[in-house]
């Protein structure tokens, strides 16, 4: 039977405690991706868990995806611009110390881009009304 969805207090409390841990873990994977397993893609995928948890606690909350979609596109432009600027202006040869900063910046941007993209995909799946009667 279709019971009305309501958030459980236990779930709410535990997830409130989990949010910072998830953010910390995601950020750790993104930032250590240069020298260890991990990177922007994996870290971004971990960060999506925040939005999924939020959906579990408040399934009926009305969300607007327009901001996330816009952020997704803006970050994509940033990634392309940064990569092409570095390549075309041969920054790496001129400023070799910039290499690490550049890699980290690209990692962070990819992380945000992946988390935005996967969030949009998840909510598209979650919010589509199927053939249910009410």
């Amino acid at each position: 039977m279709n019971e009305e969805k309501h958030s459980s207090e236990i779930l709410e409390d535990i997830l409130q405690f989990m949010y910072p841990l998830i953010i910390l873990f995601g950020a750790y994977i993104i930032l250590t991706g240069l020298s260890q397993p991990g990177g922007g893609f994996q870290g971004g995928a971990v960060l999506v868990a925040i939005f999924m948890c939020r959906y579990l606690v408040y399934p009926d909350e009305v969300r607007s995806m327009s901001l996330t979609k816009r952020l997704d596109k803006i970050i994509l432009i940033f990634i392309l611009a940064l990569a092409s600027a570095i390549m075309l202006m041969s920054f790496r040869e001129v400023f070799p110390f910039m290499n690490k900063i550049y890699n980290m910046a690209i990692g962070i941007l990819i992380g945000i881009k992946v988390s935005c993209g996967l969030t949009v995909i998840f909510f598209t799946f979650a919010e589509i009304k199927g053939g249910e009667e009410d």
Binding site: M1, P37, G38, F41, Q42, I128
Partner: protein
């Protein structure tokens, strides 16, 4: 020599892949797929590819599973009300032990049409069940006679009538009679 852990993981990969394909319920299949992904992530670690393992663990066994499950939630549920007014009540234990052949056939029909059968057992009268909303068919049992009520607008009902019509002889041998009433 290949360590025992690696061997076990290889075998479990085959077993879970096979189970994910063979199980008739889609939800179970998704869970088996998630376990398969987790096992393959372990295999990647053992083979010296921790980066791929991390991606597999995050995407294969969590995000893909959650997306599949949320998509399945939108999936059409076929609600069957099963009423037997002669009984006083239904207990969970008897329901698990004894399922009658008619309900099993209805469930088999639902599985073949990719529907999730949801059976509600009740001892209420036919009228009170009728007044409820959200049912697809109502099965009323009176001794060996099963009467199935369905609605004209539900296109699965006619298919179900044809499906059960094919099994009439088989059910007749068990002493069951089926009548179909489409309103």
């Amino acid at each position: 020599m290949m360590p025992i852990v690696e061997k076990t993981l290889y075998v479990s990969l085959i077993v879970f892949a096979f189970m994910a394909i063979q199980t008739p319920k889609l939800r179970r299949s998704v869970i088996f797929l998630a376990v398969f992904s987790a096992a393959s992530a372990f295999v990647y670690i053992l083979l010296g590819a921790p980066d791929a393992a991390l991606a597999e663990a995050v995407i294969g066994s969590t995000i893909a599973t959650v997306i599949y499950l949320s998509a399945l939630q939108k999936y059409k549920v076929f609600t069957v009300y099963y009423t037997n007014e002669k009984r006083r009540e239904y207990r969970q234990t008897t329901l698990i032990r004894r399922r009658n052949a008619v309900l099993n056939d209805i469930e088999a029909f639902c599985t073949s049409r990719d529907l999730e059968a949801q059976v509600v057992y009740t001892t209420e009268s036919l009228e009170s069940v009728h007044s409820k909303r959200g049912w697809d068919i109502v099965v009323r049992r009176d001794e060996g006679v099963f009467t199935v009520y369905g609605l004209q607008q539900n296109y699965h009902v006619e298919e179900l009538a044809a499906f059960l019509g094919g099994k009439k002889k088989e059910l007749g041998n068990m002493g069951y009679t089926i009548r179909f009433i489409i309103e």
